[in-house]
């Protein structure tokens, strides 16, 4: 079912595919093999980036390490329940990291459900025949769209997603009117949406 696949080249082909682009394959290996090797590779490939994410949010090195471990252990534990019908694996891992961050670093109730929880019983259960390929393609499209964003839009998006800043804090940081911050976020999303349009 989860066979290796080859992306067809598209106009959106990214310059380089990050480790996150290989996530679908790794996750299907984790879910099926449950091998020590897949477990170690999960930590090697994604650990540093998740720790970095936590540190950008103000975690000290020890806490960031711990939160990265917790994120990856959750991925490992839940991988068997994961199916490609539930969304992109990288999206899923991002959600887990984000929720742990809100829960632990902000010490607030986390209101964002994980993608797989929300999808339960609402999204179509009919997985496309080659979901892994299509998810990988979606991710490649998004990566290309992000690369093509003007710097001013990409900066605003990065401050929201990587540093978790609310609109008014982004406005202060960049000395911009609040309305400009909001319109840049909207524009950036529209471009990502457009890049995915024909894959819907």
């Amino acid at each position: 079912m989860l066979r290796p696949s080859i992306d067809s080249p598209t106009a959106y082909a990214p310059r380089s595919v990050s480790a996150w682009g290989r996530m679908p394959d790794l996750l299907s290996r984790i879910a099926t093999e449950r091998s020590d090797g897949a477990f170690r590779r999960l930590f090697e490939e994604f650990g540093p980036q998740i720790r970095h994410y936590m540190m950008r949010h103000g975690a000290d090195a020890a806490t960031a390490e711990e939160l990265a471990q917790e994120t990856l252990l959750a991925v490992w534990r839940k991988a068997a329940q994961y199916s490609a019908a539930k969304g992109t694996p990288a999206t899923w891992m991002f959600s887990i990291a984000r929720n742990l961050r809100i829960d632990r670093l902000r010490r607030e109730v986390c209101w964002q459900e994980l993608s797989d929880d929300v999808a339960e019983g609402t999204a179509s259960e009919d997985a496309p025949p080659d979901a892994t390929a299509s998810e990988r393609q979606r991710q490649a499209r998004v990566q290309a769209a992000l690369t093509a964003l003007p710097d001013d839009q990409r900066n605003v998006v990065a401050l929201a997603f990587i540093e978790g800043l609310p609109h008014h804090a982004i406005a202060e940081r960049l000395s911009l009117p609040l309305g400009t911050v909001k319109s840049r976020l909207r524009l950036a999303y529209q471009k990502v949406r457009a890049a995915l349009e024909d894959l819907k």
Binding site: A68, R98, A160, R193
Partner: protein, 199 residues
Amino acid sequence: MNATIRHHPDTSTLMSFAAGALAEPLAAACSVHVSMCAQCRDELRDMELLGATLLGTEPTPGGRVAAPARPPDATLAERTSNERGGGSDPIASKYGLALDQIPWKRLAPGVWQHHLELSPGAQGELYFIKLAPGCRLPLHGHTGAELTVVLTGAFTDASGEFRRGDMQEIDKIEHQPVGDREEGCVCLVAAEGPYLLKG
């Protein structure tokens, strides 16, 4: 969930929600709207993919994250949030509170309110408000963003009619919502800052 939802959060608000950058009460209101709105769930998924991709393209920092020597046993699958008994209603799953159990406090004739407790240190306010049929809230303004999700019934103000699942997003404006003539309404309101009541 069958009726069409016509009013959604602004794209920039949903982006912040996906990023985990919204203040707790605003995130709660978004979460309730999203649980009722397939369109926003779909958009949220794309926004999370954007976040994941962005995180993946950050310059890779050096160092390693230590993995436990052996993978933990995974035969006991994690329980998902759906199994916590809340189903798809985020308020019920977080607070264990159903709409017919809200301990209302009367604010004015035909107007009731109930505040929900936020995490220590969280900014803003989160509360339910109930309007009796045809009753109106006093004219008021806001000091920051306010998100309102209609849970039952409907309300109307100068900007239009809001029905079950609809979200109204307002920012520093004055308005005077009126409950639906027949059903009134129950809404969840999230405010970034305090009210400015007008005489």
